[in-house]
């Protein structure tokens, strides 16, 4: 960005710079902050504020006083007691295990799909690029709840046009998409991949646009065909973008909530609250009424997410150099 000339110099041609009034200079210096102020204020109020409040909640332990007539539940300062309880809580840990297992399978599959779509759409041979880009992106535009209900009905034997095919083609009974937990995770993995592959594809396509054409020319001169260009030139150049999408996906996976909550509340499947840590925190707060422990679970989850993302970035930056 080129440096802006002081406004006073444009006001009247020929006026010497020395006559620049003080007030104008201050206004110029503070203008960027004025523009930022609405965002910063709202950010502090509705993002940082609740996080601080939740952290305070997580440090207190709830004690119920089990009698009627003016009984008061109290919260005592427990320090890190709640966190000790959380990291020893079988339900929380099993939720984490589920999400890690889920992520190990789903994230690579989704990124592979996104990468393939992006590379194919970047190649010179495909027609109707805009149409395909849009249609791969559309699942992302569908609200998560709607998408989950849609797929939930597909998975329900008596409502789905698909599961009927299983019996017609004599494959036996259609598989149970909701039970046991491993099937449920696979079904949700399908929904999540369908929703987010297009989004990640768009990020990768954008990254590919910024590759200068000279590199392709040089590769062509060296005898690289389109496939070798894709494999050995584009993919290494995409590494930063791939790391970015991978980190987003890891964070998103650990925070999965929508699909399980909609399945349970929509009556499509019986989902135990401990299936994901986020849903477990929600249940603690809104079914059991224990807001303090729920806050603790949320922070514990955030901690785990931070550790995973940091470790992943460290791993990939050391490899990449």
């Amino acid at each position: 960005m080129s440096s802006s000339s002081p406004p006073i110099a444009r006001l009247g041609a020929g006026q010497p710079a020395m006559r620049r009034p003080r007030g104008l200079r201050l206004r110029q210096g503070s203008t960027p902050y004025l523009f930022l102020a609405p965002f910063v204020i709202l950010f502090l109020l509705f993002f940082i504020g609740p996080i601080l409040y939740a952290f305070k909640l997580s440090l207190f332990t709830l004690h119920r006083h089990p009698s009627l007539n003016g009984a008061t539940n109290t919260t005592t300062f427990g320090g890190l007691n709640n966190y000790q309880r959380a990291f020893g809580d079988a339900d929380f840990l099993s939720g984490l295990k589920n999400m890690i297992a889920f992520g190990i399978v789903q994230v690579p599959v989704m990124l592979f799909l996104a990468l393939t779509f992006a590379l194919v759409l970047d190649s010179p041979f495909v027609r109707l690029k805009a149409f395909f880009r849009l249609s791969y992106f559309i699942p992302f535009a569908i609200p998560g709840v709607v998408a989950t209900l849609l797929w939930g009905y597909f998975y329900t034997p008596s409502l789905s046009p698909v599961t009927g095919l299983f019996t017609k083609l004599s494959f036996g009974n259609s598989p149970n998409f909701f039970q046991p937990v491993s099937h449920l995770l696979a079904s949700v993995g399908n929904i999540v991949t369908w929703e987010w592959a297009g989004y990640n594809m768009v990020i990768l396509i954008a990254a590919l646009q910024s590759v200068s054409a000279e590199i392709y020319e040089a590769a062509g001169l060296d005898g690289c065909g389109p496939i070798r260009t894709a494999l050995f030139i584009k993919i290494p150049l995409l590494q930063p973008a791939l790391v970015l999408t991978a980190v987003f996906s890891i964070i998103g996976t650990l925070q999965l909530f929508n699909e399980f909550s909609v399945f349970n509340q929509g009556g499509l499947a019986a989902v135990e609250p401990s299936v994901t840590p986020n849903y477990y925190a929600y249940t603690q707060a809104f079914t059991y009424g224990d807001f303090n422990y729920a806050a603790t679970i949320s922070f514990a989850l955030a901690l785990v997410t931070f550790v995973f993302s940091f470790a992943f970035l460290k791993l990939t930056s050391r490899g990449g150099e």
Binding site: H65, P66, A71, Y153, P180, A270, F286, G289
Partner: protein
């Protein structure tokens, strides 16, 4: 002279300020009244009963000193989430609210008594107007925490045409029910006697089965301790029965109140539904295609000839402790559930089965329903309500217990393991949880 920048003329600023002040000022000036009419007490009301707005309007019309506003009209579990939130935030709670019987102890024992003891404001005078089994769910001694609105006596809705088609007698005992299950499924392998549901919130249906068999989950002892009896012999008997049916593949896996269930009703793949009196409207509104094919009968019994019933659902009105007008709020809650004209409205539009004794004569309940071949609700459910087994109690940790129960039951169904053993898991987990939360458990 112009520098391209817009300049508000000096006079303009003053004018703008004057206009702004004059717009704001009148509302801050004291209104001068000739008389000394007190402003009506404003109450907020949260409920989920359909069309309860007409009840609110009727109350406002007939009570000039109280004005009620229906501020929230969404059902469980969303409304329970909101209750927890406003109680935790210590602000924003309604004056009068609606809570189901199974959740009442949770709120009674929740922080600083989230509920007002309406006995202090005259609610005890209503005791004789409600059946003993219902009044015991809303009161503890002289303290009254809720005014009963409706109850859900259980019954059996069945497809009389399917039973007739396959020459199967309508079951009157649980043994006959199990036999009918086998026969129906053998005659048509797409037909199931009923659905198995363990999705969130359906634990109350299972509790109703155990309630009917004299099982009980929680007992409040006089020394403020609790006894947890989820895995008692009576409860295990009931769950083993259903586990056997499930193990033989005689139950399909539709959740209650789901599109899958409605479709199976409409297309004749489910032969019965064991549900409370309010289920009549659920079936008739979701499976209109099968009008005239359904009938209502008493719930199957454990002992032939001995008729015992239980309840699923039903709710009551409470006054939340954040209210600034407990007396008026109590007055509204009491009026809502004892005023004959209003109960008629609730029955007709909300489809509820009123808890008040006097309301059972209401013509809306005795009217023949074409969907059920001309049967009236009172034919089956008045007797059912009168033989409600007493002694079933809900506990303060029902949120936890029910969630654990749903999970354990669901696993048992999927893995075809023993339903009764699932109760042991729930018992252990609930006791551990309650102790951890500060309750004394014997």
């Amino acid at each position: 002279m112009t520098d391209g920048r817009f300049r508000l003329p000096r006079g303009g600023v003053l004018a703008a300020a004057l206009i702004a002040v004059s717009l704001v000022a009148p509302s801050t000036l004291p209104t001068a009244h000739a008389g000394t009419a007190k402003a009506p007490v404003e109450l907020t009301f949260w409920s989920w009963v359909p069309s309860i707005q007409t009840s609110v309007a009727l109350f406002n019309k007939t009570h000039s000193n109280i004005h009620v506003k229906l501020a929230y009209n969404v059902g469980p579990p969303t409304i329970y989430t909101k209750y927890f939130t406003v109680i935790q935030a210590k602000t924003g709670a309604p004056d009068v609210a609606q809570i189901e019987y199974d959740w009442l102890p949770t709120y009674e024992y929740l922080g600083n008594g989230a509920l007002v003891d309406m006995g202090k404001y005259g609610a005890n005078s209503l005791k004789s107007q409600f059946p003993a089994g219902v009044w015991s769910q809303v009161s503890v001694g002289k303290s009254v925490y809720a005014i009963p609105q409706d109850t859900g006596p259980m019954g059996m809705y069945y497809r009389k045409d399917l039973f007739a088609k396959y020459h199967i007698a309508v079951p009157k005992t649980w043994d006959q029910y199990a036999a009918a299950a086998v026969a129906l499924h053998k005659a048509d392998k797409n037909l199931y006697i009923t659905n198995f549901s363990s999705a969130g919130g359906d634990f109350a249906q299972w509790a109703a089965y155990m309630w009917q068999a004299d099982g009980n989950w929680f007992t409040a002892n006089s020394d403020n301790s609790w006894t947890v009896s989820i895995n008692s012999a009576a409860n295990k008997k009931v769950m083993s029965y259903w586990g056997k049916l499930a193990g033989q593949g005689l139950l399909n896996n539709d959740g209650n109140f789901t599109q899958a269930q409605y479709k199976d009703w409409a297309e004749g793949r489910l032969a019965t539904w064991l549900c409370a009196v309010w289920g009549a409207q659920t079936i008739s509104s979701s499976a209109a295609a099968t009008s005239g094919k359904w009938a209502m009968a008493p719930m199957p019994q454990w002992t032939a000839g001995k008729y015992v019933d239980s309840a699923w659902g039903g709710s009551a009105n409470v006054v939340m402790s954040q209210t600034k007008h407990p007396a008026e709020a109590t007055q509204f809650a009491m009026w809502l559930n004892t005023n004959q004209a209003n109960i008629a409205l609730l029955v007709k539009q909300g489809g509820i089965w009123p808890a008040a004794n006097a309301a059972l004569m209401n013509p809306a309940l005795t009217a023949p329903i074409p969907y059920y071949g001309g049967q009236a609700l009172t034919g089956t459910f008045t007797k059912a309500a009168s033989v409600l087994a007493s002694g079933f109690q809900w506990g303060p940790a029902i949120g936890y217990a029910s969630t654990k129960f749903d999970t354990a039951l669901n696993n048992a169904f999927t893995n075809k393991t023993d339903f009764a053993a699932a109760l042991d898991q729930v018992q252990q987990g609930t006791i551990t949880y309650m102790k951890q939360q500060g309750f004394t458990v014997k």
